[in-house]
Symmetry: C2
Subunit: 256 residues, 2 copies
Amino acid sequence: MANGVRPFFLLTNDDGIMARGLQELARHLSRFADVCVVAPEAGRSGMSQAVTSALPLRYTAYAAGTDFPQYSVNGTPADCVKLALYAILHRRPDMVIAGINHGSNASVNVLYSGTMGATLEGCIAGYTSIGFSLVNRTLDADLAPYLPWCEMIVQTTLRNGLPRGVALNVNLPRRAVQGIRVCRQTMGRWSNEFEPNQDPWGKEYFWLTGTFENLEPEAEDTDDAALRNSYIAIVPTKVDLTDEKTLQTMKNWEWK
Amino acid sequence: MANGVRPFFLLTNDDGIMARGLQELARHLSRFADVCVVAPEAGRSGMSQAVTSALPLRYTAYAAGTDFPQYSVNGTPADCVKLALYAILHRRPDMVIAGINHGSNASVNVLYSGTMGATLEGCIAGYTSIGFSLVNRTLDADLAPYLPWCEMIVQTTLRNGLPRGVALNVNLPRRAVQGIRVCRQTMGRWSNEFEPNQDPWGKEYFWLTGTFENLEPEAEDTDDAALRNSYIAIVPTKVDLTDEKTLQTMKNWEWK
């Protein structure tokens, strides 16, 4: 990159290839990078790192009027990254980028997020990977103020690199950005998770909904705290889930 | 439990409610515990921690001829845990148990696994949670030799407890069990991931397949190494993905 060669980015998302968060980020980054978009043909939110093995996958050229190539895939965000790296790209990307997602992926949302599923997929495959999400589900949110921040985070990460097995979970605050904070994932969960209802035949069904509950609201070093204070929250996020402390404790368990 | 009260377990899986791994484990554990099964109505392998918010969820009594209740859900493994805790169970479970899965969930498979998605969902909700998987995809594998080991691991974990945010990923070796090892997640990935083919109309499609690649084959403290040596691999697995070391490194990055 330093020698003037344009970097090459694979872009994807979980809101579907037509989503503004993806299209605007791809256009913005294409000013200094070669870009290829490979994204789900329709919304695949909440897909986590799900992969599709029971159905055949296909990709189709997506005519978006951009001067970079775009392909839609009939699968999950993680499928998109896998298929792009295996069958679509003719060049190793310098970075795998997912987003901008329309909605927060801070705290435990990282585990449910298709955006972060794609990001961790890029990471497992050995690529520097970043997921961007905006704490605003409104599909027509004004993304322009966030794009220079995303570019700066991409450039800084390209220069510094990331250790193998670590990707970035970047969440953008709802209001005017005050700056960035490198922070940790908030301990949290969702509560009151369903809205019950009845179908026309009297049978009960449930919509998944709920309220996010921060289990450590006093902590100041978390992604949730950064976002509440209008900072961009950047969490270095790893694919090795081993809890080393518990591993040591468990060596003293008496198994019987 | 110590006072003679039977513990209460929520059981689920990702192979579907009819799968032998789930049914045999539930029957075995029901000898000393109250059990309720809430599992996907059909196979939901590779679903990771995906959740369903675009479709309504329903549960249906599943007549399996067992003396404990069973319900099928038209959703993912994580949905099953959420819906069970919210709408189906009338009592807080002492443990959330997923499996026995037909196939390995060691190494990076933990990230794709619906079994482990359900397990981490139980963990996030604040319950002691264990996922069991057998390194054998054969649906008629002989599970009997593994059931006493699963019971022992459940009993030992009940006695000792787990820290909040930590669950167990237990993988059972293909051949005769030599013992247990508490170990860490192997660094690995899948390669050669797709089998291309053509449909009757000449259009190309891809089946997700691939070969698991252990990126640290010399390491002896990993789940993959334990399994190759016919030990049960138990990895304490956390829902906080923050990489603390990279977090500290990144504080010295110059952001521009």
